[in-house]
């Protein structure tokens, strides 16, 4: 049974400040905290005493004793560690500087995260939500939700594995074209040309535009009747009738090829970011390398291969890692293109399936387990990325 965060905080504060006052006294007058035995002894003795005291004086009953002991133990250990490392240490200032950010992260990121972990081991869905609201109790499900993730499809048609493959494909294709497009544009922009500032400005427009507007506008361009692409295709066929014989003609983008549409839109959206990052990397390469390569007789592509690419790798790798995570987690494009009621599910990737499972089908616990599986996959991918990145980095730092 997990308390809501406010109960936990309230409890923690009351207990912690009580103990803090007593222990602060001990600390300042006897310097107990310098003794080695004090940390383990204090962490066991004080909670034991406090939980028995609770049982005696507050009539809490002995059945709650282990639970109380656990809470006291946690708070006591926290206090002892606090004294040992923060108050006494030389690290008070950095901890104080970090405290607001990390308290915020703990409350608004960590707590929801662990709440989801809790949900994933229970069964919260539309039929149990009222019961949960009234009694605060949820049926325990063990690992069943995790088994369900792999066996029960989250959506009407696609199961987990199909979604996973689709997601990996989506991520790979997107990142590939982001990097390729970004690289080409950065190379083009990195010349001494006129209107460079204007070009750069125009080229970051897809990134700068609010994503909702950008995606919906692009979606409009894929409209089967009025979208730019189909209008152009229709005109082409009108001008060159033989094209129709080759099977070229207006396409029902949104209903027939939703994933392809989403991919095209997302590529369009993502190139500017990569371009900006790569451009920054290119500009930080000293020109003397190119001069040296000129003297050595390297051609344009040789310079690209042996100088440019290796030298922007340290800039590129973190950007690719982040880009992969963001693309993998990208719910906006797919949801905005296909997410309205009655929209297709053919384009759904893992995260959008997760969102739909939770908020369209109201299978909360199932989606929590689903989310944790996704989190694990992403963690694996980025650990792999960072490994290769570290390897690449150490290669240059020698």
């Amino acid at each position: 049974m997990l308390y809501s965060i406010y109960e936990v905080i309230w409890f923690f504060f009351i207990v912690a400040f009580g103990i803090l006052a007593i222990e602060g006294y001990f600390y300042y007058h006897f310097k107990f905290y310098d003794r080695k035995w004090f940390l383990p002894a204090g962490a066991v003795f004080f909670p034991l005493a406090a939980s028995f005291a609770c049982a005696f004086f507050l009539d809490a009953g002995y059945s709650r004793l282990p639970a109380h002991f656990l809470y006291f133990f946690i708070s006591e250990t926290a206090i002892l560690l606090f004294f040992r490392h923060v108050v006494r240490g030389r690290f008070l200032l950095p901890y104080l500087l970090m405290a607001p950010a990390f308290v915020g992260l703990a409350l608004l990121l960590a707590y929801p995260f662990f709440f989801e972990v809790y949900l994933s081991f229970h069964d919260l869905k539309l039929t149990t939500i009222m019961e949960w609201k009234n009694t605060g109790k949820l049926p325990f499900a063990g690992l069943r939700q995790f088994v369900n993730v792999f066996t029960v499809p989250p959506l009407a048609e696609a199961g987990f594995w199909k979604l996973l493959i689709r997601t990996l494909l989506w991520t790979f294709i997107n990142i590939f074209f982001h990097v390729l497009g970004g690289f080409i544009l950065a190379l083009l922009l990195n010349n001494k040309i006129r209107f460079k500032g204007i070009y750069r400005t125009l080229l970051v427009v897809p990134w700068a535009m609010p994503q909702v507007v950008a995606v919906l506008a692009m979606r409009g361009e894929f409209h089967s009747q009025y979208g730019f692409i189909n209008v152009m295709l229709a005109k082409l066929v009108a001008w060159f009738p033989f094209l129709a014989g080759l099977g070229i003609g207006p396409v029902q983008w949104l209903s027939d090829y939703p994933l392809m549409t989403c991919t095209l839109i997302n590529i369009w959206l993502g190139i500017p970011f990569m371009m900006v990052v790569i451009l920054g990397g290119l500009q930080s390469i000293s020109s003397s390398y190119y001069d040296a390569a000129d003297i050595d007789g390297a051609g344009y592509f040789q310079k690209l291969r042996y100088i440019t690419i290796p030298l922007i790798k340290p800039v590129l790798m973190p950007a690719i890692t982040l880009g992969t995570v963001w693309t993998f987690n990208n719910i906006n494009v797919i949801y905005l293109v296909t997410g309205q009621s009655g929209g297709t599910e053919q384009a759904d990737i893992l995260v959008s399936a997760l969102y739909k499972a939770a908020f369209t089908y109201n299978r909360y616990s199932y989606s929590a387990a689903f989310a944790i599986v996704i989190f694990a996959i992403l963690l694996l991918i980025s650990v792999f990325y960072l490994r290769t990145f570290d390897a690449a980095k150490s290669q240059y730092e020698r």
Partner: protein, 303 residues
């Protein structure tokens, strides 16, 4: 500091420069052709990049009866501002903008101020748990977007903040924090420590040195962090969709989405609204784009 950034930004452009060979005349011609190709390529890409925006603009100034058409021209015949007028009159658009602005500004301010001190701790101090905390920050990026919505919603509901600014602000305030900390740390790392030491000798405290020396010097990085927080909150709609339910409290994303999502999409009004929200963001973005490049590379290289 600025010098350093400038140096990074002022480019050298030798990447495509080929070694001198051949006679002067043919080389000049070659250069001409090359320049033409480069311009051609960039212009092509630029058109692809801005065409949808132009299209929205074009739709927004079409007269009501011809909003939907296969006409591809940007400035239509008999252009009119009817859609804008309808948007402002028939919907709560200004109110939506105002809601978005308040929520966005507050969250950005909170996010940047939290990140600025935390990043300083990461950049300048050694303390137990530093590496772990940095990894923790990184791993928050792996959390799927849909995952936190339900618990956040429950939390906001328990606090009784559904359909309020405060609820939205609470939900948004830390979401860009890890990334902001990362960027700011990268920037602080490039500021020489001797500046703070000089300030210490001159009579400030450690915190004083931070406020008087480091913060003013980090304006570019702070603006980038602010921009990231701003765009995140300005464009967000998944959480907003859950937390806000009355039309008056909507942010503009929800409002526009609603216009677009009805049975007959109000294309004219949608386009007009899109233009109105896009232009300011675009201007801010473009203004800071010169910092953006250096900030991003710093953040990612040094991270």
């Amino acid at each position: 500091m600025k010098d350093k950034l400038k140096m990074q930004v002022t480019s050298h452009y030798r990447i495509l420069r080929s070694p001198a060979r051949g006679g002067g005349k043919s080389q000049a011609r070659k250069k001409l052709i090359r320049n033409f190709l480069i311009h051609f390529g960039i212009i092509l890409f630029s058109i692809v990049c801005i065409y949808p925006l132009l299209r929205i603009f074009s739709v927004s100034i079409r007269p009501g009866d011809r909003v939907i058409s296969t006409d591809l021209s940007i400035i239509p015949d008999s252009a009119a501002l009817l859609s804008y007028a309808r948007l402002l009159k028939e919907t709560h658009f200004l109110r939506w903008l105002w809601n978005s602005l308040i929520i966005t500004m507050t969250t950005s301010f909170i996010g940047v101020s939290l990140a600025s001190t935390a990043a300083y701790a990461f950049s300048r101090f050694k303390f137990p748990g530093k590496k772990f905390a940095l990894l923790l920050l990184l791993s928050t990026q792996m959390i799927p977007a849909g995952m936190l919505i339900l618990p956040l919603f429950l939390m906001i509901m328990k606090l009784g903040l559904i359909n309020t600014y405060l609820g939205m602000i609470i939900a948004y305030s830390v979401s860009s924090l890890p990334f902001s900390i990362w960027i700011l740390k990268g920037y602080y790392d490039t500021i020489p420590r001797s500046l703070e030491e000089a300030a210490l000798v001159d009579g400030t405290s450690m915190i004083g040195a931070f406020y008087r020396i480091i913060l003013p010097l980090s304006t570019p990085a702070l603006s980038i962090a602010f921009l990231f927080n701003f765009t995140m909150a300005w464009n967000e709609y998944l959480v907003a969709r859950v937390v806000l339910f009355s039309s008056k409290q909507y942010t503009w994303t929800l409002g526009l989405f609603e216009l677009q999502g009805q049975f007959i999409t109000q294309w004219g009004m949608f386009a007009a609204g899109s233009m109105l929200v896009t232009i300011p963001v675009l201007l801010v973005f473009l203004y800071s784009s010169k910092w953006l490049i250096s900030g991003l590379t710093l953040g990612s290289v040094k991270g």
